[in-house]
């Protein structure tokens, strides 16, 4: 599907391995991060991404080691602050292709504030949030996305915290591109990455990522052969919401309430909800498939682009204001220094 283009400035298109660095990748063997790294390398090669114009910014956590493994510019920042660092960089340098790699602890706990404000400002940055529902680097405490009742090192009797719904949070924070994919579905991962890169504004990509050491199989139900058909719903723009083995089940909207219908039981695909990622209200219902769970008859977990819309970006408006001011009055340091009101002292 993806073929490298042949325009790289110096005549030789880059391959996936040209985006890798000489650093040894230090994630645990079997970590879902490897898959994500590989898909990004592949997508970058396919899209012929310019390494020198690309910057990866991260915070702290397993996912945040990511910039060391990309042969681009990068900053491995401090815990939770990747979104803030990236916002400053992109505002100062709108010409750069800026990516944030973060995790559920980094962006939804300590960095929650920067995360929501990045989405609100709609700075043109792609955010890859590796959600493994656990703190890996600190060796196994529950995270803000761990389900209630989660047994972890810091919750030996089960977590009493209610988890975040990251996509609902992103939508509520005025995100303009809200999506979800999963490490074990590389084709889908690549598709979402490509989509996200096309979007102008903050692209939020939640990636379910398996931590095989501290939270193994947290998303297994969505990827293993036995269960994935019934639990995962892949969203495609303009197409009905179908899932199940051989896509025999669909989602129908009864007013604002989603319900599962069986296609061999009097319903056809035409009766089902047609996915429109530009519809924010429907996107909101989709993000809440997360919470409905078994109370609503076990709605499947959607993957894909839930919502996208065009909105002005922060850095564009700032640049416009500057251009506008410059057009009105010329910039001159001496005029600025002299102020409006000055006077001579003569002797």
């Amino acid at each position: 599907m993806l073929k490298p283009e042949k325009t790289n400035g110096n005549g030789s298109p880059l391959t996936a391995k040209d985006y890798a660095t000489s650093q040894d990748v230090r994630w645990c063997p079997g970590c879902g991060d490897y898959s994500i790294l590989k898909q990004v390398h592949t997508v970058f090669a396919a899209l012929n991404v310019q390494r020198e114009n690309t910057v990866f910014i991260s915070g702290i956590g397993c996912s945040s080691r990511y910039p060391y493994y990309m042969n681009t510019y990068g900053i491995h920042g401090i815990h939770g602050r990747a979104a803030a660092i990236a916002s400053g960089l992109k505002t100062a340098r709108p010409d750069l292709d800026v990516w944030v790699v973060t995790g559920d602890g980094d962006s939804l706990a300590i960095g929650g504030n920067h995360f929501i404000h990045l989405l609100r400002r709609n700075v043109d940055i792609t955010v890859l949030l590796f959600n493994n529902e656990i703190y890996g680097l600190t060796k196994g405490q529950y995270s803000p996305t761990s389900p209630k009742g989660k047994i972890s090192k810091s919750t030996p009797f089960g977590s009493v915290d209610h988890p975040f719904n990251p996509l609902a949070l992103a939508l509520g924070a005025e995100g303009t591109f809200v999506s979800r994919t999963v490490d074990r579905n590389p084709i889908h991962l690549r598709e979402v990455l490509e989509e996200s890169r096309k979007h102008k504004g903050t692209s939020f990509v939640e990636i379910y990522q398996n931590c095989n050491v501290f939270n193994d199989k947290a998303f297994d139900m969505f990827t293993n052969k036995e269960t994935k058909d019934d639990t995962a719903l892949y969203l495609k723009e303009g197409e009905p919401l179908l899932f199940g083995e051989n896509l025999t089940k669909g989602i129908r909207l009864d007013g604002f309430t989603p319900e599962i219908v069986s296609l061999d039981n009097g319903y056809s695909a035409d009766d089902c909800w047609i996915h429109d990622p530009h519809d924010k209200i429907k996107a909101s219902i989709l993000t809440n498939f997360f919470d409905y769970g078994l109370d609503y008859g076990g709605l499947p977990r959607p993957f894909g682009v839930f919502y996208k819309t065009e909105r002005y970006t922060y850095e564009d408006l700032m640049s416009e204001q500057i251009e506008h001011s410059r057009a009105k009055k010329s910039a001159d340091l001496d005029t600025l220094l002299s102020g409006g009101d000055n006077y001579w002292v003569v002797k």
């Binding site: 020198e52 114009n53 990866f56 510019y73 990068g74 100062a92 404000h117 002797k347």
Partner: protein
């Protein structure tokens, strides 16, 4: 009978005080402009109430504008007032203590009616204007409200709008009193209310009426006239500390050919820097109001990685929040200017009051060994030069720099002989160092030049992609390293790099007095004005004393120790519990006497003079 003109005064301290809504700041600002144009030196300080809109007439709602102007060099807005102008009873009550014995009071008697007296907590409606409690002063109670209303009778303004003109009556009267012309203010009024001619007319009329009132009322037997000051020839403007910082940043960006990125979260008393820079759009300044203090500094770090001259400012509590990110900037070795406009602490403390208690925070307040150069400004106009210098050091030495100002400097204003841009020394970013590619052609982002400075290579530069981060780095390659010896080397390198900056800053000099003085007063920050005034006055009185102002605190100027060693007695006045005294005492193993004050107020000249004389007399005895 026309009043006699007293020309004996060299300087005069005036306080305008009234309710927040009385236009006090405007009045003070206009008086300042007028006397500046006349050629006086002046130092001003506004004193706003802490509450945004305190209830009318209350003690907490009093707004003040203090100024000292004169025919001599003026370094502070003054200790005690010669003239106290009060618009209501509360303004008198709050400020009377600081009026000189025998000083002039000009009071709007309409502001002393029984309602105002009660709100100002005068017991049993005792009226200070009539009960002879002010007999020791030269009291002039004038019904300014009534006179203004009479003057504007028949205008189409409402009573409320007419009453708003009474500050112009006062200003006109004060112009008369100090033999100043109302011309400049008339021009200003015409310009400001261009679209509202009836408002312009009313204000102008109130101003003129106040001016003529001096002549016609015959209650004043004396007017004052001061000579212009002997300021160096040149073009001047008025500037406060925060404005000067904003200009310093913009100028440094311009002279280093960099874009300025300024990020900050609103905080008293630093917000005005954000306001100023937000208006410098045509200079290409990108001002980013961040969601919090941490985002402010982190976005600045991101912008710095991208090649912008980046800065952030805050006050103590905000600086505390930024400290982790400052450590990151130390590790990344990127240019960054962090300004702390200090206020009273700890915690929220005294947001609108001044203090110098964040020096240790600046020098030591980070986890790990995280050396950062620290500079301190001395006065409002000095903010420009020191900010420019902070930017220069940040860019040319690839380091975050911390600059200390304080609330007193931030809002204090004085005339400034502003520089011509071509006289500002260009600042040169380090774009390459020898051997920054190894034998395989790989880029070494932490390869250093002789000053131990690494190159500033920005994204967009082909084939020099690199990753940097907060983890300890391998020497030269910048790769993550946990090697024990490497950590020792990198820690030493980072310290040595900052230490070497001492070779790139001016030598320490004495501000006043000579090396054989009996006592040296060492100041930093906003104690400058009061100290310089005290020392000059004492020298004039025959006391052998000297003054040194330290602006480079980390690293210290290379000759500082030697210079200090020439004095037997050293006094360090500070608005903290003796932080600089401890720093220099420890660094140079010398004995220093600390003189401290923690009242949210600057030192006044008298208390410094008394302290100095006390020490010297004590030594004789």
């Amino acid at each position: 009978m026309s009043p006699k003109i007293d020309e004996s005064k060299n300087e005069v301290v005036i306080l305008f005080a009234g309710d927040s809504g009385d236009g006090i700041q405007f009045t003070g600002g206009q008086f300042t402009e007028t006397v500046e144009i006349f050629g006086h030196d002046i130092s001003t300080f506004p004193n706003y109430p802490a509450d945004i809109r305190a209830p009318v007439g209350t003690l907490s709602g009093v707004s003040g504008f203090q100024l000292k102007f004169g025919s001599v060099e003026v370094f502070t807005p003054g200790d005690k007032y010669d003239v106290l102008v009060v618009m209501n009873a509360a303004a008198l009550k709050v400020n009377l203590d600081n009026l000189k014995q025998g000083g002039i009071i000009i009071a709007n008697s309409a502001g002393f009616d029984s309602k105002n007296l009660k709100i100002a907590e005068y017991i049993d409606d005792e009226n200070p204007l009539t009960d002879h409690s002010l007999d020791g002063y030269d009291l002039h109670a004038i019904d300014i409200t009534k006179l203004t209303r009479e003057a504007l009778k028949g205008s189409e303004l409402s009573i409320k709008e007419i009453d708003r003109c009474k500050n112009m009556f006062v200003l006109g009267f004060i112009y008369w009193m100090f033999s100043q012309t109302p011309k400049n203010t008339l021009k200003f009024i015409a310009e400001k209310f261009k679209s509202k001619p009836h408002i312009a007319e009313a204000n102008a009329k109130a101003l003129k009426t106040g001016y003529h009132f001096g002549d016609t009322s015959e209650t004043f037997t004396t007017r004052f006239k001061l000579k212009p000051a002997a300021l160096p020839k040149g073009k001047y403007r008025n500037i406060n500390g925060n404005e000067a910082i904003a200009l310093g940043l913009a100028a440094a960006a311009n002279r280093s050919n960099l874009e300025l990125f300024y990020a900050s979260y609103p905080i008293t008393p630093a917000s005005e820097i954000l306001h100023e820079l937000s208006s410098f759009k045509s200079m290409g300044v990108k001002a980013f109001q961040a969601e919090d203090e941490i985002a402010a500094i982190c976005s600045a770090i991101g912008a710095s990685f991208g090649g912008a001259l980046s800065a952030t400012a805050s006050s103590g509590p905000g600086i505390a929040l930024k400290s982790e990110a400052m450590g990151l900037a130390v590790m990344l070795e990127l240019p960054l200017v962090v300004v702390n406009v200090q206020r009273g602490g700890p915690s929220t403390g005294l947001p609108t009051k001044t203090e110098q208690s964040d020096l240790f925070q600046a020098v030591f307040g980070r986890n790990g060994e995280a050396p950062i150069p620290v500079l301190a400004v001395a006065s409002p106009k000095d903010c420009f030069r020191v900010t420019y210098e902070a930017c220069r050091i940040a860019i040319e030495h690839m380091t975050p720099v911390l600059m200390l100002s304080d609330g007193y400097i931030a809002f204090g204003a004085e005339p400034w002989s502003f520089p011509n841009s071509k006289d500002l020394k260009p600042i040169n970013p380090i774009r390459k160092v020898d051997g920054m590619r190894n034998e395989n052609g790989a880029f070494l982002p932490y390869k250093r030049n002789e000053e131990l400075v690494r190159p500033w290579i920005i994204p967009g530069t082909k084939d020099l992609q690199h990753r940097i981060g907060g983890l300890e780095k391998q020497v030269e390659t910048g790769n993550v390293s946990y090697d024990p010896n490497n950590h020792q080397i990198m820690t030493d390198l980072r310290e040595e790099k900052i230490r070497k900056i001492a070779n790139d800053i001016p030598l320490q000099e004495l501000r006043s007095g000579s090396e054989d003085a009996d006592l040296l007063v060492v100041g930093w920050g906003s104690t400058y004005g009061a100290t310089e005034t005290a020392v000059r006055e004492l020298i004039k009185e025959g006391v052998n004393v000297a003054h040194m102002q330290i602006k480079y605190i980390r690293p210290f100027p290379p000759n500082l120790g030697e210079l200090l060693s020439k004095f037997d007695k050293i006094l360090v006045p500070e608005l903290n519990k003796g932080q600089l005294a401890k720093l220099i005492g420890q660094e140079f193993q010398i004995k220093v006497e600390s003189f401290t004050k923690m009242k949210g107020l600057p030192f006044n000249v008298e208390e410094l003079k008394n302290k100095i004389q006390n020490i010297l007399q004590h030594a004789e005895a």
